[in-house]
Amino acid sequence: MAEQTHWLGAFLAHLSPRVQEKLLALGETFHYPAGQSIFHEGDPSLYLYIVKSGQVAIEVHIPSKGRRTIMTAGPGDLFSWSALVEPRLETASARAVDETEALGIKGGGLMDLCREDPALGFEVYHELAEVISARLIATRLQLLDILAA
């Protein structure tokens, strides 16, 4: 596990070693060259992703205004939690800004694991709630910033 420790960001690092191991075992590593699209808004959301290295831009496209990056995910950051929430469709697009390696955990597999192992399930969803809450506060600040302008 030594090779992976340097990128264990907020989400994975706060999980107990037992849970960490189970999640990493469930994951597959994806490689994306700089500029490559990872998924488009509206695509079925199959994977929860954690960035291992590189940078991912989360974008929306606004008709006649173009693409806007609303968030970036760097090493350790989590994106595409839509894989765990119905209707399991991506609500934004993701694109590798730099050459990126990401761990993808199948949403369906993770949910099954959480159901079979409630203790694991609690840890995972607790940490997820922390990540999403932090995002929501950040988004509020973004909104206030834009409204105040």
Binding site: H40, E41, G42, V60, H61, G66, P87, L147
Partner: protein, 288 residues
């Protein structure tokens, strides 16, 4: 002479690009930069012949300025006076906003597809509108309230940027009394606003709904409609029970100029009202 072309029954008058004159009977401001015209054809024969269905639009022509596609926002059961709610967005709409009672404009229409009220009998309706998007849905509300018993629960989920941008607020009381559940929100509130604050799709979290036997009709900015559809699908509304009204550049409204194409569809012919299942492969595709 040479090739024979097929004989097709023509629905419109001989030249579908030729407008008919109509006289403005009333002008009412609705919100900042938004007003409603009511107008009547100058010619009694045109008045008697004109029929439309909820969701359709007219091309309004101001000689020397140009034409705009505007949805009808009045009751389809009352066609002597036609209502159009217009937001000032360019040269033509700005020029229209300066017209007064008695002025004359040209009308071509009605064009386009309509909200599927014929499929809604006995079912619940969730009408979701953002901003000026309530205007093409108002004819649905008026038709439904005229025949209220023909439908199940009827809900309106409506929002605008600010309280001052809300349309038709004078009518909400009457609509509630006639059996429409009215839920309103604004993106940003002010000191006087006592209602909900949040984007329109958030209103889904405040109402109960069954996913069976329910149609969703939505109109508003395309981004809003993307998230409305997301919320509807999350609540297990089938894709083919969702209808939306799309907008694209339009020059002729009769399928010849090519501007309003959306994949294989012409917004002026197969639209503006679409069944979501029919356009799903194209909906939300970037720059499409």
């Amino acid at each position: 002479m040479s090739v024979a072309f097929p004989a097709i029954e023509v629905r419109s008058p001989v030249d579908p690009m030729l407008p008919r004159p109509a006289v403005i009977q009333g002008v009412r401001p609705e919100a900042a930069g938004v007003f409603t015209f009511s107008m009547a054809f100058a010619n009694p024969a045109d008045r008697a012949a004109y029929q439309f269905q909820a969701g359709q639009f007219n091309m309004l022509y101001l000689p020397g300025f140009g034409e705009v596609a505007i949805s009808l926002s009045s009751d389809p059961g009352e066609t002597q006076l036609l209502g159009h709610t217009i937001r000032v967005a360019g040269n033509v709409t700005r020029a229209l906003s300066r017209l007064k009672v008695g002025d004359v404009v040209g009308i071509r229409g009605p064009f386009g597809s309509h909200w599927p009220l014929e499929k809604a009998a006995g079912r619940n309706l969730i009408i979701v509108a953002g901003g000026i998007g309530l205007a093409p849905l108002r004819p649905v509300i008026l038709s439904v309230l005229t025949h209220r018993d023909a439908f199940g629960r009827v809900l309106l989920l409506y929002g605008a940027r600010t309280p001052g941008d809300l349309l038709y607020t004078r009518e909400f009381g009457r609509w509630r009394e006639a059996g429409l559940e009215v839920n309103v929100t604004v993106d940003v509130g002010d000191e006087n606003w006592k209602g909900k604050v949040g984007v329109v799709p958030q209103l889904f979290y405040f109402v109960r709904m069954e996913h069976k036997n329910t149609l969703v009709l939505t109109c508003g900015p395309e981004i809003m409609m993307r998230f409305v559809i997301y919320e509807a699908l999350a609540r297990r509304i089938p894709k083919d029970a969702i209808y939306l009204s799309m907008e694209r550049n339009m020059k002729c409204a009769v399928g010849f100029c090519g501007h309003c194409q959306y994949g294989p569809n012409f917004i002026c012919k197969q639209g503006p009202v679409f069944n979501f299942a029919a356009i799903e492969p194209f909906f939300g595709k970037e720059d499409f």
